[in-house]
């Protein structure tokens, strides 16, 4: 899998929303995912296909249904390559600062 596909897949808010939904609960159908978006079924399908090509979503047949699963490994690989190596400590310190400031306000 190349990083460019993963970054491109993550660059769209609808696709990030779909990943977040799958993170909450895996193994969802297209119908289920489409019901949470103000978008045509075909549009959602296109986004899911892009996520699948980037390796972020894996599909699996269960009877007549096609279930979508989140595959976090490509994100972990980007983490290993781009975050763990350079900036993990600074990023997590800033992230916790941001969180504590936002919680106060």
């Amino acid at each position: 899998m190349n990083d460019a596909r993963v970054f491109k897949a993550l660059a769209d808010p609808t696709r990030r929303f779909l990943l977040d939904r799958l993170f909450r609960r895996d193994g969802r159908t297209l119908t289920e995912l489409a019901s949470e978006l103000d978008m045509t079924r075909f549009g959602v399908m296109k986004h899911l296909r892009l996520l699948e090509r980037a390796g972020l979503v894996i599909t699996r047949r269960s009877g007549r249904e096609k279930l979508h699963f989140l595959n976090p490994v490509p994100i972990q690989l980007i983490h290993d390559r781009w975050i763990g190596k350079y900036t993990e400590r600074q990023v997590s310190a800033l992230a916790s600062l941001k969180r504590s400031l936002e919680e106060k306000s």
Binding site: M1, D26, Q76, D80, G84
Partner: protein
């Protein structure tokens, strides 16, 4: 997260045989992820166990066997189906056996696709651990960490610097 099935997939520039060995041989498994020493009787009905490595044994309360289970289907180097139970603490052990499937498929250009399907119905604590939710508590990054460590090891010959079990 309340998943009963977790799927993880990684593409590795290595042969199916190399990936099979890296999953089933202790000299390989001690080099990535949580770095246990696995022991398989590789036939249907055969026993599976994993033992702590030297570093892990230093921690108080680590049991002498950390994983156990049974081989359901062994088709080297393409498919392994087994049961899998975590014995690291009584709460996890009490959740009982889960079902784990490794599928190894060559794609092209010397690249092989590894898919790990873990059926975790009835094991919510184990599911949380393996999804990496407890990473900030020092419980490791679960399957994502294990599989990226496996990829790095097979492609570069080196372990990731921040693997949990090391």
């Amino acid at each position: 997260m309340s998943n009963t099935i977790q799927m993880h997939r990684v593409y590795i520039k290595a042969t199916p045989q190399a990936i099979w060995s890296a999953i089933t041989k202790p000299e390989w498994t001690e080099q990535y992820g949580y770095a246990p020493l696995v022991d398989y009787d590789m036939r249907a009905g055969g026993q599976f166990r994993a033992y702590p490595n030297e570093g892990m044994k230093q921690f108080p309360g680590v049991p002498s066997v950390i994983l156990d289970g049974e081989v359901i289907e062994a088709d080297p180097p393409r498919k392994l189906v087994q049961t899998w139970r975590m014995l690291m603490d009584p709460g996890l052990a009490a959740e009982g056996f889960t079902r784990l499937t490794y599928e190894i498929v060559p794609v092209k250009g010397g690249v092989t696709r590894l898919t790990v399907t873990h059926e975790l119905g009835g094991a919510p604590k184990l599911a949380a651990l393996l999804s990496g939710e407890r990473e900030s508590e020092g419980a490791g990054g679960g399957w994502s960490e294990v599989l990226s460590g496996l990829k790095t090891l097979l492609e570069t010959g080196q372990s990731l610097p921040f693997q949990s079990g090391r």
